[in-house]
């Protein structure tokens, strides 16, 4: 039996759709196998790579110890204009949200800065959040930072929710992202 043109076309389209359904079934994977936050990598959906650094204030800080808190990890240098521009906003947001379990970690890429400039900058701007010092450049490399500032919004589960390359970040951006992460953590 020969099919006319419209029937042949309908048959072709039906076969395409059936093949599509088979492909959906065939390419299904167990829950949790896509991203899932198991592998540490500096990308949205992955576990934030862990590090330990000494801070400007003289303490040792380890990222994984902050699990359970919403973390804004910002990598910066004192000579970088957008980094300087966003620091007062970060200070404001930190003061407002720290009691709700938010941590701001402003890792100074000391490998491309000087300790004196960093200290002067922190004093001038009255920054009170921890400033870990990346003296060897380990964290700058680990987070594949190609431009300063680069910020990582990390959920309470330690998984990166968003990467913001460049700056300055506006206050509304910081507030909305932090509130979203706090809502998620509750």
């Amino acid at each position: 039996m020969r099919l006319n043109q419209p029937s042949r076309l309908s048959l072709h389209y039906s076969l395409i759709l059936l093949a599509g359904l088979f492909w959906i079934w065939f390419s299904a994977v167990p829950q949790g196998t896509t991203t899932g936050g198991k592998i540490p990598a500096p990308q949205t959906g992955f576990l934030a790579p862990d590090f330990s650094l000494n801070t400007l204030q003289g303490e040792r800080i380890t990222l994984s110890d902050l699990r359970g808190k919403v973390v804004l990890l910002n990598i910066w240098a004192s000579w970088c204009p957008p980094c300087r521009a966003e620091m007062p906003t970060m200070q404001k947001v930190w003061e407002e949200y720290r009691a709700q379990g938010v941590m701001v970690l402003a890792v100074n890429s000391t490998v491309q800065d000087t300790l004196t400039d960093t200290q002067n900058f922190v004093n001038d701007y009255g920054l009170t959040f921890p400033i870990p010092l990346d003296v060897s450049g380990e964290v700058t490399r680990l987070y594949q930072v190609s431009s300063l500032p680069t910020s990582f919004f990390i959920g309470a589960d330690g998984v990166i929710r968003e990467v913001v390359i460049g700056g300055p970040m506006s206050e509304a951006l910081l507030r909305s992202r932090i509130e979203e992460l706090l809502k998620e953590a509750r």
Binding site: Q5, L17, S27, P30, Q31, T34, Q43, E171, A172, S176
Partner: protein, 243 residues
């Protein structure tokens, strides 16, 4: 992966640049072939420009509505250049409404306009694939295949390049199709939609960032299949219609 293109003191965000290039080349190509679809190049340019402006404003407004408190304490953020303060869904809706209103006022025929815009959409998809390749987003599942690329701590399917290849192939296919003189109105656009939905359905299987539903089925594949089904129904209808 090249998220930043450093030219002297200038640090350009490569993904954004790829989207802009996609818009520019896409619009240029669409303008060139618009008269063939009985639409003037100027009308097409104005339509896209109106949609873009409305899309940006709508995306910001949509974001403000979702997070009013964030803007109450910092009203200057309303005019911030941060692309993170845009809501894509609101932007798309606003662009669509503005384009429909503009098209109706200019009495543009909807299927002719969509056919004329098809080269723009097809080139934009190439720009989007290049943007993902630059940022490392839309990454693949882990693989041991020899063409796997090292990305985010594992050897992965180069899904960004699969999608780039798919988008280029779709553009070339549409280029051939558009040369036909017996083409029904709307077929070019529907073919673009069918091919794009088919490509998403196929390539999504290799993605490592899929949202999973119902025991591990990839949500994007289900959406793509539904779009494909609707478009094939539309194609079957116009194929039966007089040319």
């Amino acid at each position: 992966m090249l998220p930043i293109l450093q030219i002297g003191p200038l640090a350009l965000q490569t993904p954004g640049l790829m989207y802009l290039l996609g818009l520019w080349f896409g619009l240029s190509l669409a303008e060139k072939f618009a008269p063939k679809r009985s639409i003037s190049a100027d009308a097409l340019y104005n339509l896209v420009f109106t949609g873009l402006i409305a899309g940006i404003l709508g995306a910001r407004l949509g974001y403000v509505i979702q997070y009013p408190n964030a803007f109450l304490s910092s009203p200057f953020s309303l005019v911030s250049l941060n692309p993170g303060l845009l809501d894509p869904f609101s932007g798309f809706a606003a662009a669509l409404i503005a384009a429909l209103v503009y098209g109706a006022r200019q009495k543009l025929k909807i299927w002719n306009t969509l056919d004329a815009l098809t080269p723009f959409f097809a080139v934009f998809m190439i720009g989007a694939a290049l943007a993902n390749a630059a940022s490392g987003a839309a990454f693949g599942m882990e693989t041991s295949l020899p063409w796997g690329i090292e990305l985010w701590g594992a050897k992965r399917h180069p899904t960004q390049f699969y999608e780039l290849g798919g988008a280029i192939a779709i553009l070339l296919w549409l280029g051939r199709l558009s040369k036909r003189t017996d083409l029904s109105t709307g077929r070019l656009f529907l073919t673009f939609l069918a091919l794009t939905a088919g490509a998403r359905l196929f390539f999504e299987a290799f993605r490592g960032d899929s949202t999973l539903i119902l025991g591990g089925i990839r949500a994007a594949q289900v959406v793509a299949w539904l779009v494909l089904a609707g478009v094939l129904w539309g194609l079957a209808r116009i194929n039966g219609a007089p040319k």
